[in-house]
Symmetry: C2
Subunit: 574 residues, 2 copies
């Protein structure tokens, strides 16, 4: 007999109906001879009841937490209703009880309040995932993925696959390698992204490609990084930078509306990279709060303050920040130092008097308050760095941290911004160039001649979509002309031989009628994190690796049989 | 300015409209001074026209095949219409022409008739994929995938992800290994299927899982195999074998209706494995034609035919098959021998006379015709093998080949069948057992005690879905009881230590309240092959490997830098 309801569905409208339910015993109590069972499935909980003397009473007495059972019973009204439960008005009087499986006492509690250590949770992930909060993360992930897909299908995209076993092209991050058994000493590589394949789909004329794509980077893990991650990978032909951005905006708006019922106001603001660095000290500014950065050199340059001499000085005013103590502020020095800043100082206005770490250097406090435009209870934070970029980044990091500390931003406020007009190249210390985005990114149309004459002045047709201080995705219009692609590779120092060996097929492909094209990749894990308001990326991945790159449940990686290595022609170095 | 139409859209209803189109130059002709251009995109072709003297005329003269262009023009009626083209009633008179990219002469022709060698097609896959027939394969693949997904979402499933970097458990096929950089001498493995992860989703209570999952097997390639392939991976809790099958039937019916507008009659026939072997000599019978196998020992046993002595004799009647010549029939001997058969003989009835290779052994031809139930023009094929299974398989292979040879089956006829009631184990020559499906398959409920007493008599709760002689997918109800899983591993000869090392977490997981569960995996590549009527699996994969496991376009696998191997602590054996 099929199950009639999930455990969140029954209410007074079902009184008297015979129903069949299944699920896990979340709790069992014996009250005055009656046995009450909370039956859980991923949808909710229904209270069951067994009367003393009923044929199932004895079996019901043996039930323990996490037993899997199926029951038939009749819906009755509860005496003491629970308004906090969807099914809180009713209970089900058991007529038939079947135990589908027993359970030993689980090593972690199946409740949101459980406080097991992360390693224990990961070892018993299949139990950790039973906790309602984790179920919600996974279901939301599936819904978000599907909403994104739905939006892209509505935009006329097709979902296409690309290979996982590809070629190693050691640009950017480190590749995972897969030894070939048939070709001794040769390797496939797992893709860091389907970048080249999606461009080849454009070369082939498919015009609108997307894929929910698994990507791999053999990098040392940080808190929000995994060895493998998922991106919404998008590529399209014949569209301009702005048209691509508009399309992505519609996809994001559809997704937020569908999953969170949140309206995103379109169009999303577009901010040049230079402006973001200048006002926010970050290429992923959090726009939910102010604290805009200022250039403080004009203010401080006529005071002879030794530790600010020859520095770039940036900073920002925290309105009503004067209550922050010296101790609290000193703690932020670490943030400044960690982010390339040299020093942090402060001044505040309380009772119309200036105070703070720089006071002894300020000869004319009243005049200073006026020049700085400070008002009562203002806190002015002053960050010094060796150059504009360093000071800005340090000030930007401090701004972000202070925003969190003062709770200036709400989790329910979704502030998107496009960062545009990026440089095409980063300049290394030795003056050599690397691609700021990746070497397939097109210069701005007007800057194409500069690629040959003064490459580092080139601006890119690149754009990042930023949400609440996180980079949600990045993209660009790609190079579609073979000679530009060749020059781009040369500009980043690749020899003609290396270009031919690694990217010969791509430079070749661009010669046979490649349309203008571009796209973007959204980090799905991060998108889900932001939409579910969790800070731990492992919460939104069903079976994550630890920060030390291990699967604690399956015990991977692991040693393998000698015969396997033999077949692969490999020896492990002792 | 945005593009207004695809190249399959314009017709007489658009006369006089100014349109903007883009695409590839498929053909250019100069007729009496007028330049005609066939403009192609993935949707179709529109004919363009440039008048002599027009400012764009000179530029139009320089166009070559596969140039990418954008045009603005006015829709006009054609003088000589082409009823075979969606846009054959009109042409577009060019007002503005922009060349978006040029093209060298492509190494393969961009037409369905191109006869380039497969290796050339694979090397220039981005051009091969421009051919309309290949575009159709890829678009159909995307549509089929999406239709399957849509059906599963309607059934209440969620699409969940599973890791690609997992653990090597050398059951069944060979694993691809991925060396770990952080743990010298240890490896991740790519999944042969997400089998265990999807079961863990059930343990975790998610109830309905699916994934369009990439799977990997390091096996020697056959014509219809690739190193990586895609399966529609499905798992569900609390359903019986029959309920799972019904759900899959609805998914298939939805997909065939949506993509091909073909109605599949439900329920799909269910045929026990034994019956399939007996009537069709195959566990994946093609039901589009008859030629049912018979047991011929009763017929031949009283003739003393030396080469049939002590053999199992099977065969089938081909109505109106008497016209097949001895030469044609002799050619089929190879098929019989290749499929474990020992001999092929035949008898036919023409002009009411028996003839054929066995005639000299038949002492009473008239009586034989009657006993065998033959009628005029019948051909009786006689296959001998060392036992029932060998003779049946050989006869089944011959049946299939003859069906193809005589064109008894239509490509548009979709005949599904479930093969059910499989044995749980295969018996090896040495008497040891291996799991016929995989070691997570549950015995039939009634056979569970046999697992401990007489395992090889166990039948499995396993089922294959077969379409037109191809296995489209296979599945089973899984073992959800820990002690049954432990016994199953022991029955296939795994020691307690190996069980603990490889599957300890699974045997453990089943102890904490695992629901009954089961599922199925559909081979997506094969499904697309069958639905697009191609015989070459590479046709439905955008970037396939060759049969010798190489990517000819990117040149993978390839050697890697010494530094990469150094980091992985590996040495290549010389």
């Amino acid at each position: 007999m099929a199950y009639t309801h999930h455990n969140n569905e029954l209410n007074l409208a079902h009184l008297g109906q015979t129903v069949r339910l299944k699920g896990w015993v979340a709790r069992k109590r014996n009250l005055g001879g009656l046995i009450f069972i909370d039956l859980r499935d991923r949808f909710g909980i229904t209270q069951l009841l067994v009367q003393p003397g009923h044929p199932s009473y004895e079996l019901a007495s043996t039930l323990k937490s996490e037993y899997v059972i199926a029951i038939t019973g009749v819906v009755i009204e509860r005496e003491s209703k629970n308004p906090n439960m969807a099914t809180g008005d009713i209970e089900v009087n058991i007529e038939e009880l079947v135990v589908l499986n027993t359970a030993e006492t689980p090593p972690i509690g199946i409740s949101n309040e459980d406080t097991a250590l992360e390693d224990t949770r990961l070892k018993y992930r299949y139990l950790d995932l039973r906790r309602p909060v984790m179920q919600n993360f996974m279901i939301k992930r599936a819904q978000i993925t599907q909403a994104v897909r739905e939006a892209l299908l509505l935009e006329g995209f097709n979902e296409f696959e690309t290979p996982i076993l590809g070629k190693s092209t050691p640009e950017g991050a480190r590749d995972f390698l897969v030894p070939s058994r048939l070709y001794a000493g040769e390797f496939y590589a797992l893709p860091q992204s389907p970048q080249i394949y999606k461009q080849l789909y454009m070369v082939a004329g498919f015009e609108k490609y997307f894929q929910i794509a698994r990507c791999f980077r053999d990098e040392d893990l940080r808190a929000d990084r995994q060895l493998e991650f998922t991106q919404v990978d998008i590529e399209t032909s014949f569209l301009t930078e702005l048209e691509i951005q508009s399309m992505i905006e519609r996809v994001l708006a559809h997704t937020f509306k569908k999953v969170l019922n949140v309206e995103i106001k379109l169009p999303i603001e577009r901010m040049p990279f230079d402006r973001a660095m200048s006002l926010y000290g970050s290429d992923k500014p959090d726009l939910r709060f102010g604290l805009l950065l200022k250039d403080l050199n004009p203010l401080f340059d006529h005071y002879a303050i030794p530790f600010l001499a020859n520095k770039s000085i940036r900073g920002f005013v925290v309105p009503n920040g004067a209550h922050l103590s010296r101790k609290e502020l000193d703690a932020f020095t670490t943030t400044v130092k960690k982010n390339h800043g040299d020093a942090l100082a402060f001044l505040k206005v309380s009772n119309h008097e200036l105070s703070g770490s720089l006071l002894k250097n300020i000869t004319d406090p009243k005049q200073f308050i006026e020049s700085a435009g400070l008002v009562e209870n203002d806190l002015l934070l002053v960050i010094a760095g060796k150059d504009f970029e360093s000071a800005s980044k340090a000030a930007g990091a401090l701004r972000k941290e202070l925003g969190d500390y003062l709770k200036l931003a709400s989790d329910d406020d979704y502030r998107f911004v496009w960062i545009v007009d990026w440089p095409l190249f980063d300049v290394n210390e030795d003056g050599s160039l690397t691609a700021a985005h990746h070497p397939f990114t097109s210069p701005k149309e007007a800057d194409k001649p500069l690629l040959f004459s003064n490459p580092q002045a080139c601006r890119a047709q690149a754009y990042d979509i930023v949400l609440n201080g996180y980079e949600l995705g990045g993209g660009s219009v790609r190079i579609h002309e073979s000679h530009i692609q060749q020059q781009m590779f040369e500009a980043i120092g690749l020899s003609k031989e290396i270009i031919e060996e690694r990217f010969g097929f791509l430079v070749g492909a661009l010669k046979y009628g490649t349309p203008p094209h571009g796209g973007l990749a959204l980090g799905l894990d991060r998108l889900v994190m932001l939409m579910t308001n969790t800070k731990n990326i492992k919460d939104v991945i069903a079976f994550p690796k630890t920060q030390s790159a291990r699967d604690l449940m399956m015990q991977a990686p692991s040693s393998v049989a000698d015969a396997q290595l033999e077949e692969l022609n490999l020896i492990i170095k002792k």
